[in-house]
């Protein structure tokens, strides 16, 4: 407990320091790519629990992200929309603003700086609420997962993601198809990497526990796991809830990083993207998930420069696809396979190292 606590505190302090350093010395574009990497890591690591450890092929991660993003935005952002019934634009203050009002703040008289700090107070509760609502959705999706396997489950979860997207498109109060602009830029490097640290530490702890072993047992041989008394239903639903929670939080972070969200942000390509990160890194390896997330976020950006050099607009995505195809041909188990980065592995890889 002490060690986990110490690692968490150190990690969060590290995130704050990283934020200060990046803001001081690195240009905004690079910082933004680093931030996107952080969000991608949370997404990949959380999906790894469902797809990698438990072996339940889920394509619903974008749906969980969307839920988290929209719920979180309710806490921080004034929702403006056209009300067809009264034929006028309506403006709904954010939950944070309403709370501030209840405590006696005068919003009408408040300056923009003050409004921003009020919104910032809504961010953490928003992230948590987004995660919790998303986890509830995970519970709902986890139940059909008990009856479906393999491709069928993939299609069902894909359907879930699309349902979420279509439902959001049809709620004008949260922007409908046009989406929600003007989210405050609250997700800085501190927030993103603090969440990253929490997600990674918890996932490592999960993996190396009786629950992690039970999840892997289900993946390896469901019947044998059940005969050994592993409660399959409970464990599968738990994996979905866990994965959905962090996907929801990551959605909230992404929303406040992009500052504009629309249903199209969370289409099924987003889910595929996260799955590709996992497969690239090595399905079932947490280290692989982290590496896959970084590579697939940085690669398309790095290729922009290549594109400029050779003056062939669009070649970037061709190269990106080629890299993936080559990897699948020559290393289908992913970069890490199911191994984890550990001292043992380092010693084996580094020549002359102790065996």
């Amino acid at each position: 407990m002490l060690r986990t606590g110490a690692v968490l505190v150190a990690g969060i302090i590290g995130a704050v320091v990283l934020n200060a350093v990046l803001a001081e010395f690195i240009d905004d574009y690079v910082v933004r790519v680093i931030n996107l990497c952080g969000v991608a890591i949370v997404l990949a690591v959380s999906l790894n629990v469902i797809n990698g450890l438990c072996g339940q092929f889920s394509l619903g991660h974008a749906g969980f992200m969307a839920i988290g993003a929209y719920v979180c935005s309710l806490f921080t952002t004034t929702q403006r929309y056209y009300d067809a019934a009264s034929a006028q634009y309506v403006s709904e203050p954010s939950l944070a603003a309403r709370m501030a009002e209840m405590f006696g703040a005068d919003l009408a008289a408040a300056g923009s700086e003050q409004l921003q700090s009020i919104a910032a107070w809504g961010f953490l509760p928003g992230l948590i609420a987004g995660g919790v609502v998303s986890a509830l959705a995970g519970l709902v999706v986890g139940i059909p997962a008990l009856r479906l396997r393999g491709d069928y489950l993939a299609i069902a979860t894909l359907g879930f993601g699309e349902i979420v997207r279509v439902v959001i498109t049809n709620i004008p109060q949260i922007g409908g198809a046009t989406g929600l602009p003007g989210l405050p830029p609250l997700a800085n490097t501190s927030w993103i990497f603090a969440v990253c640290v929490v997600c990674i530490v918890f996932s490592v702890n999960l993996q190396r526990s009786t629950f992690g072993r039970a999840l892997i047992a289900i993946r390896e041989n469901e019947l044998a796991a059940e005969i050994m008394g592993v409660r399959i239903a409970r464990m599968k639903v738990m994996a979905f809830i866990y994965g959905a929670f962090f996907a929801g939080v990551a959605g909230g972070l992404l929303a406040h990083l992009l500052q504009t969200i629309s249903p199209a942000t969370f289409n099924f390509m987003k889910s595929i993207e996260v799955v590709v990160m996992l497969v690239l890194g090595g399905l079932g390896s947490l280290t692989g998930a982290v590496v896959g997330a970084i590579v697939l976020t940085v690669l398309p950006e790095a290729l922009r420069d290549v594109e400029r050099e050779v003056n062939l607009p669009g070649i970037r995505m061709v190269v990106y696809a080629l890299v993936l195809i080559l990897l699948m041909i020559f290393r289908p188990q992913g970069i890490f396979g199911q191994r984890e980065l550990s001292l043992k592995l380092l010693r084996r890889v580094i020549p002359g190292g102790r065996k």
């Binding site: 986990t4 999960l206 009786t210 892997i216 047992a217 019947l223 044998a224 005969i227 050994m228 008394g229």
Partner: protein, 254 residues
Amino acid sequence: MTALLETKGLTIRFGGLTAVDDFNFVITPGELCGLIGPNGAGKTTVFNMLTGVYLPTAGTVHFDGARINGKSPAQVAALGVSRTFQNIRLFDELSVLENAMTGAHRHAKINLFDSLLRTPRHYREEQRQRDKAYRLLEFMGLEDRAGLTARQLPYGHRRKLEIARALATEPKLICLDEPAAGMNTLEKGELSILIRRIRDELGVTVLLIEHDMKLVMGICERIQVLDYGKTIAMGTPREIQNNPKVIEAYLGGE
């Protein structure tokens, strides 16, 4: 002595095929019984019905006084029935020790947050499972291999690991499905001693499916013989060996 496991009229049909027909069987605590028969006689199907994998078409199974036909495999496991598989079903990517620890998972009294936050309860549980698993690996003679992944184990050891994993669930009854298949004579000799020790030292009742007659006749106190899903004989090894119906089933009649 009251029965530990009792089946009455146990029958299962797959479409037009009656795989097991009117199977009646009793085992009392502390017994070491064998279930034999030619290939396709329905022995493994019986195990699958006993452990909740298949739902019998007719008949009942009582274990320790409770009716268990219709219960899920996990519920049956919770009551104290464990088994091994004819086609080995280990968790290949987990280590040998972790495989055995998975058997002890069902007794864990901690929740997810204990493990996520690494509370003292989590460490106590890990220690309990590790001790339990390691003791059983020692019992089966696998303690040197604890750190290997299950995939790396040679065949005979894989069979032994399955037994260790099943024992880690702390069963009252263990059903062994052809534990000696693929083992050499030496390993078979070791195994028959181990099976007897499971009953004598760990106090677990053993039900054994096995094709190796020397092993079955050497350690079982009572044997029931299946052929085409029907019980054709039951009795002590000596009685079975001299039963004309059994000889006919194995060697063919006129």
